[in-house]
Amino acid sequence: MTPEQKLAALFAAEAPPRRYYGFEVVVAERIARRRAWLTVAALLPWLVVSGIVLWALHGLLLRLAGELVPVIQPLALVFAATAAAAGVGLWLTGALQRRVTVVARPK
């Protein structure tokens, strides 16, 4: 076998299979997670704007607060609990996926 043939054979031996589903799944999962975080980040400016609007209206809201407290308090609790559960769920999903994902690699 000539050196050229050896070189070609050794390079050919390293060639990966044309498809590798495990790799494609991991990339798709990482992109989906990145998209989720980008979506959350895109909502942040709206959160800031909402905060500013509420701060601007706080005088009016304070006057109405006495009447609104019984209505808003349970709703606020539900929203807070939902947001906390969603946050924990998102974090746990990522953590669990990282823990249990076993990717079969081709040899």
Partner: protein
């Protein structure tokens, strides 16, 4: 549904928000990117795949910066090359990497194991630019033009890198000095 589409059309759909289109691009180009990274990094599949995943995610993030939608493969390999250089600069390239390489490569029939080790050693000793050109042009059969586009190197430089790298590898495999 996206099976017969050109790269340019897949890029257009991916830019419009289609994850299926980008997945098709991953499917189509993962072998080229992974093979290049494995040869360039000189390690096993695990490290090459880590960098390849980073490259594809970075590609998804910066898809709008792709100027020629038909040149997805060189563009992705260019991203992979920069990621791999970062990895080399920032990480250990020692016994663990060499062990990974030794475990990962099978010696083809008719090629002595010493030649496999000689090739590994010769590849590791090549400068990074030369190694990248060799990995693409000799390992994966890319044209010099494609490699030039992917690596951002002048065409003449790629040609001379490939010639020099090839001569060194052949010498390590028992060829003459002027191989």
């Amino acid at each position: 549904m996206t099976g017969d589409l050109t790269d340019a059309e897949l890029v257009r759909r991916a830019l419009a928000g289609s994850d299926a289109a980008f997945s098709r691009l991953v499917e189509r180009h993962q072998a080229a990117v992974r093979a290049f990274l494995r040869r360039f990094l000189g390690s096993g599949w695990a490290e090459a795949d880590d960098v390849a995943q980073d490259a594809f995610v970075a590609g998804w993030t910066s898809l709008r910066s792709l100027r020629d939608p038909d040149g997805v493969r060189p563009w992705l390999c260019g991203i992979a090359w920069r990621k791999a250089q970062d990895r080399i600069r920032g990480s250990r390239r020692g016994a663990a990497r060499d062990a990974g390489w030794l475990e990962a490569i099978e010696t083809p029939a008719g090629v002595p194991a010493e030649d496999r080790l000689a090739l590994r050693s010769a590849m590791a000793e090549l400068p990074t630019d030369v190694r990248a050109c060799v990995a693409l042009c000799l390992g994966d059969g890319w044209s010099h033009g494609e490699a030039s586009q992917a690596l951002g190197l002048p065409l003449g430089t790629v040609k001379s890198h490939v010639a020099r790298g090839r001569a060194r590898l052949l010498k390590a495999l028992g060829g003459s000095d002027d191989a």
